[in-house]
């Protein structure tokens, strides 16, 4: 299975600023997924990032708040913009290979907004 390097592992940010999270995969993958996990909650899909096209956002998530880049088949970034305390969460990237395998997750970025 793929190996994902996710950075940073944690950050504390000021209200109104932005944080960019990076995920590097050790193999080429078509789709990368970005999730948010609010404190004590399950994972909610933010968007799907395809190389060479605009990301597909889930209901409740917009590009202005969560811009995503996918410059090649092994790398993606998620930016969380105009931070507020409500954005304090764990953000995770993920990749999967068809239906026969489970998905691989990055180690997560724990964001605290003060």
């Amino acid at each position: 299975s793929a190996v994902i390097s996710q950075k940073p592992s944690r950050d504390i940010c000021q209200r109104g600023t932005s944080l960019t999270i990076q995920c590097q995969v050790d193999s080429q993958v078509t789709m990368m997924f970005w999730y948010r996990q609010q404190p004590g909650q399950s994972l909610t899909l933010i968007a799907t990032a395809n190389q060479g096209s605009e990301a597909t956002y889930e209901s409740g998530f917009v590009i202005d708040k969560f811009p995503i880049s996918r410059p090649n088949l092994t790398f993606s970034t998620l930016t969380v913009s105009n931070l507020s305390p409500e954005d304090s969460s764990i953000y995770l990237c993920s990749v999967g290979r068809y239906e026969a395998y489970g998905y691989t997750f990055g180690s997560g970025t724990r964001l605290t907004v003060v």
Binding site: F33, S42, L45, L92, S94, E99, Y103
Partner: protein
């Protein structure tokens, strides 16, 4: 939106005992997967069961799937303190349309006491 509902939300047992977690879902699926998350870190894929399978084993893990009841269970036998984690079920609808996404349940927090 959440697809799976885990039950119980929290489970505390003694080392050596078995732990059973249940998951229910709402729509048709291609497969169902179980993941473990330690202390808010990245998720680790445990086991995948396809919709045409009824039971699957992997080491100390046993998963069952009842598509008529839209439910699954995860059994961890002879639990260890290191099994302490949150466990999530996730459903995968298939590669067509928007079904390629993993949809997570709310999770069960398992505590194994030494």
């Amino acid at each position: 939106s959440q697809q799976g509902e885990e039950d119980p939300q929290a489970l505390s047992i003694q080392e050596g005992e078995n732990a059973t977690m249940n998951c229910s879902y709402k729509t048709s699926i291609n497969n169902l997967q179980w993941y473990r998350q330690n202390s808010g870190r990245g998720l680790v894929h445990l086991i995948l069961i396809r919709s045409n399978e009824r039971e699957k084993h992997s080491g100390r893990l046993r998963v069952t799937l009842d598509t008529s009841k839209k439910s699954s269970s995860l059994l961890i036998t002879a639990s260890r303190a290191a099994d302490t984690a949150s466990y999530f079920c996730a459903t995968w609808g298939g590669s067509g349309g928007s079904n390629y996404k993993l949809t997570f349940g709310k999770g069960t927090l398992l505590t194994v006491n030494p």
